[in-house]
C-alpha cells in the first residue's frame, strides 16, 4: 500500500517538474489556482445558505440546488428571515431601523448603503449582531440528530418486538454499541462507574462519526472541521469530567499524594493546566484532523483542473480516491479517539483511591 502511494507521489512530482507551460497557460493556471484556493477556503467555513454547486457564466455566478436557510439575529429583538435575501452578500437587508449585510460568511450591521469599514489588518470593524442562524452546519447537525434519534430508537424498539434480538439496521449498530461499552467505556472508566457516562460516549461517538462521514459526501459539509463545533463537544467532556469528579481526583490536582509538600505546591498549577489542556487537545485534534483532511482532499481534486492533462489529472484522481478511502477510516478513527479520550478523562475523574504507589 505504502509503495503504491510513494510511486504515485513520485509520478505526480515528475509531472509537475516536466510540465512546461507556456506563458498564456500559466496565466490561466494562476486564475484557476486562485479560484480553487478561494473555493476551498469557502468550503471549509460554515455557510448561511445551502447549494449543491455553482458555476460562472457571462461573469455571473449561478447556483444549483440553492436553498435559503433561516437567518436568526438577536439584536435587541429577534429578527428572522431567509438567507436568500442577502443574495450571497450582494444585498443589504433592512429589518426595522437596522441594516444587515453578509460579508465573508459573517453578518454585520451596516448603514443603508451597506458600507463596511476596515481596520489596518483589513478586518471589518462593523458591529456584529448575535447570529443564531440555522446555518448549513446547524442544519446538518439537526438532521444528523434526527437520523440518530430515529435510528437508535428503532433499534431499542426492535428488541421488544423481536424477543431481545436486534432487527434491521440495528444489527449493524448493536456490535458498535457493544464495542463502545466493552472496549472504550469499561476499560477506561471501570465496571462500577461506566454506566453514568455511556449516554454521552455513545451519542458523541455516533454524532462525530456520522458528521465526519457526511463531510466526505459531495454535499461539502464540514461540520466537525469547525472549531465552534469541536469546542462545544470538548466543553461537554470538560464539564462532565469536572462535575462528576470524586475527592480523589481533586486531591490529585490540589494536593498530590505521595510527594513532598513543596512538590505538592509546584504541581498545583501544572495539574490545573492539565485540566484545561486535556479537553483542549480534544477540540484541536478533531478540528485539525477534519480540516486537514478536507484541505488535502479538495486540493487533490483541484489539482485535476490545474494539470488539465491526462497524466496529471488521472494521477490526481487516483490520489484523491486513495485519500478519500483514508478519510473514511479517519472519520471513524477520530470519532473513536474523541470517545476514547473522553472515557479516559472520565476514568481519571472517578478513579477510586488505591494503594500509595503512584
Amino acid at each position: 500500500m505504502k509503495r503504491i502511494f510513494t510511486a504515485l507521489f513520485a509520478l505526480l512530482l515528475a509531472t509537475i517538474a516536466f510540465a512546461n507551460p507556456t506563458v498564456k497557460e500559466k496565466e490561466t493556471n494562476g486564475s484557476v489556482k486562485d479560484e480553487i484556493k478561494a473555493y476551498i477556503q469557502h468550503h471549509l467555513k460554515d455557510s448561511h445558505d445551502f447549494y449543491l454547486g455553482s458555476y460562472k457564466e457571462d461573469g455571473k455566478k449561478h447556483y444549483v440546488g440553492y436553498v435559503g436557510l433561516p437567518i436568526i439575529i438577536w439584536d435587541n429583538g429577534l429578527n428572522i428571515f431567509s438567507s436568500s435575501k442577502f443574495e450571497h452578500g450582494k444585498a443589504v437587508v433592512q429589518k426595522g431601523t437596522n441594516y444587515y449585510k453578509l460579508y465573508h460568511g459573517k453578518i454585520y450591521k451596516t448603514d443603508a448603503a451597506g458600507t463596511i469599514t476596515y481596520d489596518d489588518a483589513h478586518h471589518p470593524t462593523n458591529e456584529k449582531p448575535l447570529d443564531l442562524s440555522i446555518t448549513k452546519s446547524v442544519l446538518t447537525m439537526l438532521l444528523t440528530a434526527l437520523l440518530m434519534f430515529f435510528l437508535f430508537r428503532s433499534l431499542a424498539r426492535s428488541y421488544s418486538k423481536n424477543g431481545n434480538i436486534a432487527m434491521g439496521i440495528g444489527r449493524f449498530f448493536e456490535p458498535i454499541i457493544l464495542y463502545v461499552r466493552d472496549d472504550i467505556a469499561i476499560p477506561n472508566i471501570g465496571q462500577k462507574h461506566h454506566g453514568r457516562y455511556m449516554s454521552f460516549l455513545l451519542t458523541v461517538f455516533f454524532f462525530i462519526w456520522f458528521l465526519n462521514l457526511l463531510g466526505l459526501t459531495p454535499l461539502g459539509i464540514n461540520v466537525t472541521g469547525n472549531i465552534a463545533v469541536t469546542f462545544g463537544l470538548a466543553l461537554i467532556t470538560f464539564l462532565l469530567t469536572n462535575l462528576t469528579a470524586n475527592k480523589n481526583y481533586w486531591a490529585h490536582i490540589f494536593w498530590m499524594p505521595g510527594v513532598p509538600v513543596l512538590m505538592k505546591i509546584a504541581l498545583i498549577p501544572i495539574e490545573l493546566l492539565g485540566v484545561i489542556i486535556k479537553p483542549f487537545s480534544l477540540l484541536i485534534r478533531l478540528y485539525a484532523n477534519m480540516q486537514a483532511g478536507h484541505i488535502v482532499l479538495m486540493s487533490l481534486i483541484g489539482l485535476m483542473f490545474i494539470f488539465n492533462n491526462w497524466l496529471g489529472t488521472s494521477l490526481s484522481f487516483a490520489l484523491a480516491f486513495a485519500i478519500s478511502i483514508i478519510e473514511l477510516l479517519v472519520a471513524l478513527l477520530q470519532a473513536y479517539i474523541f470517545t476514547m479520550l473522553s472515557a479516559l478523562y472520565f476514568g481519571f475523574a472517578v478513579e477510586e483511591h488505591h494503594e500509595e504507589a503512584h
Binding site: S133, T135, F152, E174, S199, L202, T203, N226, L233
Partner: protein, 167 residues
C-alpha cells in the same frame, strides 16, 4: 490562533451545544437505556443459562456416579447372597450327612442293644430250658434209673458235664 478565533462562530457553538445536549438526553431516554438494559439482560440470560447448563452437567455426573455406585453395590450384594446360598447349601448337606450318620449310628446301637437283650433273653430262656430239661432229666432219671446208684451218679455226672459245657 487569531484566525481560529476569527473563525469561531458563537451562534454555531450555541446551536451545537444545545443540539448535542438535547440529543444526549433524548437518546438516553429513548435509545441508550433500553438498548443497554436489553443487552445486559440478554448477557445475564446467557450467563445464567450457561451456569444452569453447567449445574445440570454436574448433576448428571453425580447421578451417573450414583448409578455406578448403586450398580456396584447391587453386584456385591448379589455376590454375597450367592455365596451365602452356596454356603447354606453346603451346610445343609453337611448337616444332613451328619444327622444321617448320627441316626444310623443310633439305630445301629439300638439294634446292638436289642440283639444283646434278645441274646440275654434267649440265654435266660435257654438256661431255664436247660434247668427244666435237667429237672426233667433228673426226674426221668430219678423215675427210671434210681435203681442203680452207680448208674445214677454216672448219669448225673455226665449230664452235669454236658450242661456245664453248654453253659
Amino acid at each position: 490562533m487569531e484566525k481560529l478565533l476569527g473563525e469561531f462562530s458563537f451562534g454555531l457553538f450555541i446551536w451545537q451545544t444545545v443540539i448535542v445536549t438535547a440529543l444526549i438526553l433524548l437518546l438516553r431516554k429513548f435509545a441508550w437505556k433500553p438498548i443497554l438494559n436489553t443487552i445486559n439482560e440478554r448477557e445475564e440470560g446467557i450467563r445464567s443459562a450457561m451456569e444452569s447448563a453447567e449445574e445440570a452437567r454436574q448433576e448428571m455426573q453425580h447421578l451417573q456416579a450414583d448409578n455406578e455406585r448403586i450398580l456396584k453395590e447391587a453386584r456385591a450384594e448379589r455376590e454375597g447372597l450367592l455365596k451365602e446360598a452356596r454356603e447354606l447349601r453346603q451346610k445343609m448337606i453337611d448337616d444332613a450327612k451328619e444327622e444321617a450318620k448320627a441316626q444310623s449310628e443310633q439305630l445301629l446301637a439300638q439294634a446292638k442293644e436289642a440283639i444283646e437283650n434278645e441274646k440275654q433273653v434267649a440265654i435266660t430262656s435257654l438256661k431255664n430250658e436247660v434247668a427244666d430239661l435237667s429237672l426233667q432229666i433228673a426226674e426221668s432219671l430219678t423215675k427210671e434209673h434210681l435203681s442203680s446208684d452207680k448208674k445214677q451218679t454216672e448219669l448225673v455226672q455226665k449230664l452235669l458235664k454236658e450242661v456245664d459245657l453248654k453253659a
